[in-house]
């Protein structure tokens, strides 16, 4: 799908959230000088095309007590990575699961899965579950915990 200029403006106008007004799309539309119907139509199209993944409440894991956020990284055989990635991405405690390039020799990991738990023990069980799923297809893994959030903002695109 080709992203139009209006689509970019809609993304930009909604990236901090939809207004909590009775007619939120009308509020956005008024800022952009188009009709509310047009905004809803473009957002529907972007949702169907996968440009928008979902629309809804975006939870803050940390505030909800999920204080242990681990970036788990795995060295998975190339022929297995898609099949395993699909399965790991479906696990309820995995929020993001991506294939990324290796940088050998210093970085052998090609599969990333973010896990979230309330305790270190809970995360340890989750990691064990992923490890069991991967079995011998994983040649090694590490878990990187964030020790400090230095900056966190939503999506930004240029004006």
């Amino acid at each position: 799908m080709e992203i139009t200029d209006l689509d970019r403006k809609i993304i930009q106008a909604t990236q901090a959230g939809l207004p909590l007004t009775r007619h939120p799309y009308r509020t956005i539309a008024a800022q952009l000088g188009v009709s509310a119907e047009r905004v809803m139509q473009r957002m529907t199209a972007m949702l169907e095309a996968g440009v928008i993944r979902r629309i809804g409440a975006v939870p803050n894991h940390y505030r909800l007590g999920y204080h242990y956020n681990g970036m788990t990284v795995w060295d998975v055989e190339d022929v297995q990575v898609n099949g395993m990635g699909e399965r790991i991405g479906k696990l309820s405690f995995v929020s993001h699961c991506y294939q990324r390039p290796r940088h050998l020799p210093e970085w052998p990991y090609n599969l990333f899965a973010m896990v979230h738990g309330r305790t270190e023990a809970e995360v340890a069980v989750q990691i064990q579950q992923i490890a069991s799923l991967l079995g011998e297809h994983s040649r090694g893994h590490e878990v990187l915990y964030s020790s400090r959030i230095l900056k966190k903002t939503g999506l930004r695109i240029e004006k």
């Binding site: 901090a16 979902r54 966190k152």
Partner: protein, 154 residues
């Protein structure tokens, strides 16, 4: 402690938010409450930080160009380098992680050339190589995150 309405909004409305002229009224009708109650509850969830917003989540790399970047910064320089990098508007989710690759951030730019220009500038100014880890495949179906209320901590 969250009430029942707040919990339901948090757990059941991470996706499929109505694309209709009065979406909060539609949600209120589904939950059997008044529209004003839904608006108040969502405002509370935002004010208290339980949700960051109600709105669209954009798929990575569909608008502009982005990459995860990892750097191995000498510990004594980490604070300074991290602060300097955070000043770029293109930098997002800048985390210190417990690893020899101790600085991790996401770069989002309008296009690939701009992304590379920012990375070149960061490498030149910090004299630390930036390892680029762009997403190759996204396996997340991103149905939202299922919250477990059973331990009563929220």
């Amino acid at each position: 402690m969250l009430n029942e309405l707040q919990k339901r909004l948090l757990n059941d409305y991470q996706r499929d938010f109505p694309l209709s002229s009065q979406p909060y009224r539609d949600i209120a009708a589904e939950l059997g409450v008044a529209e004003a109650e839904v608006l108040t509850a969502l405002q509370y969830l935002i004010d208290q930080g339980y949700i960051s917003r109600v709105g669209p989540v954009i798929a990575p790399n569909r608008v502009g160009s982005s990459a995860l970047v990892a750097m191995r910064v000498p510990p004594e320089r980490l604070q300074q380098v991290a602060e300097w990098i955070s000043r770029f508007p293109e930098v997002n989710h800048n985390y210190e992680r417990e690893h020899h690759y101790n600085l991790w951030f996401v770069l989002i730019a309008s296009d690939r050339q701009h992304l590379q220009a920012v990375l070149d500038e960061i490498e030149k100014q910090t004299a630390v190589p930036a390892m680029q880890l762009p997403m190759l495949t996204d396996y997340g179906i991103d149905l939202g995150f299922e919250l477990d209320w059973n331990d009563g901590s929220v």
